[in-house]
Symmetry: C2
Subunit: 266 residues, 2 copies
């Protein structure tokens, strides 16, 4: 279906802009992604927006035409509106010419097929949306299967996390679970749980990583609870040559993921 | 000097809160850092705030007492005020009990002594304050000498960058220069310029890194200009197993920095 929206108080505009808040995303089961590049990544990963919102005045683009056709074919809505209304929806002064509202998908642990990849990232109580998106992006780069979110993490479907993921939110498997759900799931199959740790650990470089390797990264300010570290099959230490004893969580995950990648391939 | 401030419209309150804006930081030559941990990191690195602002109602802490005494000894000001005014200054609903206004220091290239470290990070047109702070934090972790900022980078003294640096803004050398200033400076002494690149490059793992190694990271969305890559002594490629062809800038810098660290030590 196609339609045009001209009024700021239109209910669809209100719904779309409400998706910047987690509680509204949860209620509607929808999230926003902005920009032709992200939407094309989504399309290539087999995800189409339920609603595609486009600026009336925009440059023509083959990829946008293709996206539009696919959304219509799939029974979605294509909405044309003004730049001002797009700015209101996205909360940006200079919005991109296109945005999409996607249905959130099932993120239960059952959706994860560990045989899909040798590397998985696992984040515990990750609070920063930028770190969330960056970890998804790192998953993509190292060829990981996806990101498993443990305990109370920031929403992977927030506008900031989606943007920072550079499209990886659409290509990576994402699961959400409590620790008490995750551990039995992990132990029900093959899998090595690895964390960076200062306790009872060995050098991260050349450590005996094995596939499928689950790389566990802790909360930005607290790190991992001791019991979680104790559950790990392998604890490794990265050199810390300075005053501090830790790295940014997304950085630590990435340095470790690249080492695991080299270890498994080498 | 000690004094107490009770009014929101006090000129010192106005000055301090103005430091959240870059143009005011530049005009005043001051920047803000919040929290006892950051301020203690600064003190240990030999940096004391010109003004130390403390909540009237706060828990006593030895480190805060020591900081207070040092600020007074150094001729600085210690200001007591309400939590509400601290919230106004820092722009946070739940401000930390202490904040400091520090004099910005000289960030010209002449302040860099390359013999201080085997590793240096160089960021070109880095725009995100979180990435800036994260790169400073990574510098600390790998024992780098500091961060050299090329062309139009985000301000390393912004509240966000200072916070993300976890204190490394005080321990790491920071220089700002144009590319045309940087290259002659680099070539006036020993130094290998290395960048991640897809062109004419070799695998990053085990590449022939040599000290002092300057690791160049490009802008978040554009990457490095081709001419900048061409100037590099070594171009290396990190595996990209997914759909995307790049990592977050701070992540790429960190993965490379840890590889360089291993290479130089191995």
């Amino acid at each position: 279906m196609r339609r045009s929206i001209t009024g700021f108080s239109n209910p669809t505009v209100k719904l779309l802009r409400s998706l910047r808040d987690k509680k509204h995303r949860k209620r509607e089961g929808l999230f926003l992604a902005e920009g032709l590049r992200l939407l094309t990544d989504a399309r290539e990963a087999g995800r189409l927006p339920q609603m595609l919102v486009m600026a009336e005045k925009r440059e023509r683009h083959d990829l946008l035409d293709a996206l539009e056709a696919d959304v219509i074919d799939a029974g979605g809505e294509v909405i044309e509106t003004s730049r001002d209304i797009l700015a209101k929806i996205t909360g940006k002064d200079n919005p991109q010419a296109v945005a999409g509202a996607f249905a959130e998908w099932d993120t239960s642990l059952d959706t994860i097929d560990r045989s899909n990849s040798d590397i998985w990232l696992v984040a515990q109580a990750l609070r920063d949306p930028g770190n969330m998106g960056t970890m998804l992006r790192t998953c993509d780069a190292v060829g990981a299967g996806g990101l498993i979110l443990i305990d109370d993490c920031t929403d992977p479907f927030s506008v900031e996390a989606v943007r920072a993921s550079m499209g990886a939110v659409f290509t990576q498997a994402i699961a959400r679970a409590t620790w008490d759900e995750f551990v039995p799931w992990l132990r029900s199959g093959a899998g090595q749980l690895v964390a960076a740790s200062l306790r009872d650990s060995e050098p991260y470089r050349g450590a005996p990583y094995s596939a499928p390797c689950f790389i566990l990264v802790g909360n930005e300010s607290q790190g991992l609870p001791e019991a979680y570290e104790a559950e790990c099959d392998l604890r490794v230490t990265m050199p810390m040559r300075g005053k501090a004893d830790s790295l940014n969580a997304a950085v630590a995950g990435a340095v470790l993921a690249y080492e695991v990648l080299a270890g498994l391939e080498g």
